[in-house]
Structures are given as C-alpha cells and as structure tokens.
Symmetry: C2
C-alpha cells in the first residue's frame, strides 16, 4: 500500500468509497442525497489537500487535510478519513491517520481537531485515541444515526508536538 | 429597537459593524484581511437567515442562523452575533440572542451550538450562560488572540425545549 496525493483522476474511486462509507448513516453527516459533484468537491475542491491509499493500483481509502478555521484559528488542522469498507481490518485507517499527522506537522499546523466523531463509532474513537487524540467536547444528541436515532458526537483533539 | 430580517440594503451597515467587531482580534477568527465581499456573504449569502437590530433607522447589530452541519446534523442550529461596539451595554446582544433562540425554535431546530466562543470573551460567555447555554467542549489554544496569544475556545450548547 502506498499513500500519495489525490488527483482529479481519482475522482471516480473517491466517489465509490464515499458512497459506500455514508450509506449506513452511522459516521458522517452526509445523507444518501449527496451528489457525486459534492462528494468529489469535498475531497478535491480548491484549497483542500487530499491523499489516497492505493493498493496494487486500487484506491482503498482517502483523507483530506484543511485548516479547521480561517485566520485566527488556522493553526489547528482538521481532517476527514474514509476507508473502503471491503478493506477494513487491514490498518488502512491507521496508516492514513499517521500519514495525516505527519503531513499536518510538515505543513506547520500546531494541533489537529475532529469536530464531529459519532460516539457510537467505537472503532474510529479507539483508533484516534491510539493516535494520541482525546475527547475535548461532547455534543449531545448531535448526530441522527440511521438506526440508533439521535446520538452524541465528540470533538477530539491532539497537539502535534 | 426593532429586530427584522436583514436585506441586501443592509450590506453597508453590516460591513461597518463587521469591521469594527473583528478589528480588536479578540472574538472572531476573521483577520483584518477579510474583504467586504466575504463579510457580507457571511451574513447575506445563499441559504443564510440573518436579522438586524435597528434603532431609530440605524443598524446596531446583527445575527445569522444556519444549520450547524448538513444532513444528519442539521437539527442543530448555529448562530453568529455582532453588535456595534458603540452600542454595547444596551442589551442589544441579549435581545438578538433571545430573538435568535425563538427563531431557531420556529424553524424546527432542536438545539443550538456555538462552535468557537473565545474563552477570554467573558461578557459573551456570561450572556450565553444567562440564555441557557453551557460549555460542552474546550478547544485548547485554538484562538490566536491579537494581544493575549493562543487562548482556549469553548463549544457552547443548549437544547431549545
């Protein structure tokens, strides 16, 4: 598996993974009504740094890295990750997470914040904790989970040094 | 003082207040480099509900009300407030805050969340607490304060019913 910069040529793969990841309605705010255009812009739009994980020529995951806020909050990074469900359990998320932290450090960010980690996404939360993140906020009933109804979401954070 | 829907005709007043509010660099992420176009779009862009407080024909404050997230997070509102510094101490912020909570309830939101309340903005925090908000998250050193350096920011939240 290699991790490399995403390009416009990855758009179709990104859309395929995006659709598969949001379909269960258990981790991302995007609904099934999200268009291919919006999904691709989310990862490949202007000002967005994105990387893909490629395994034997196949894209199996991606992440985006952006400032969490403009101006006086732009020293904190934000990132979003998606892994092809058929590639789960192979450490793709962890490899992308470690790559992203390194990339953010190189870009000069001082910290990374995830604004909306669904509280029932125990695998995701466990991974972020392993990578040094902690829960710094709890947003009560902020996520409309497709099968569980309204559940909490967490704000997670770590400094990069 | 009346509170009414903002219109395109309020753009110049909104820009004047916006510039005055962000100038000290102590409450908003916007820097002095923010353009009039961006400032006006922040309050009057597509899909944004905004209101102004008008006193004897003069605009002295405004707020915007939007979904805090798309899709599965869109039942939580987000709002931003600005009051002309020369009108401070007259209850404009409180009146706008109460109006906004009522408006959000009417629009069907279930809760309101502020994502980035600067921890040194004691007057703002006191007002939001009076209006029923509580701090649900602390973002360490997330705001580059113009005179104090990096300070924490809070996530504040309240349910509407």
């Amino acid at each position: 598996m290699i991790i490399r910069r995403a390009t416009a040529a990855d758009a179709a793969s990104i859309w395929t993974i995006f659709r598969a990841v949001i379909a269960p309605g258990d981790t991302y705010s995007f609904t099934a009504a999200t268009t291919e255009r919006d999904a691709v812009a989310y990862f490949l739009g202007p000002g967005i740094t994105s990387f893909v994980a490629e395994d034997e020529g196949r894209i199996i995951g991606m992440y985006k890295l952006i400032p969490n806020r403009i101006g006086r909050g732009s020293h904190v990074a934000n990132a979003s990750f998606m892994v092809d469900p058929s590639a789960h359990g192979r450490g793709v998320g962890r490899a992308l997470g470690e790559h992203c932290l390194q990339e953010a450090l190189q870009q000069g960010y001082e910290a990374m914040q995830f604004n909306f980690v669904v509280s029932t996404n125990t695998a995701g939360i466990a991974l972020w904790k392993k990578l040094g993140f902690e829960i710094v906020g709890t947003l009560p009933k902020a996520f409309e989970h497709a099968t569980l109804g309204k559940v909490d979401a967490y704000v997670m954070h770590r400094f990069l040094r």
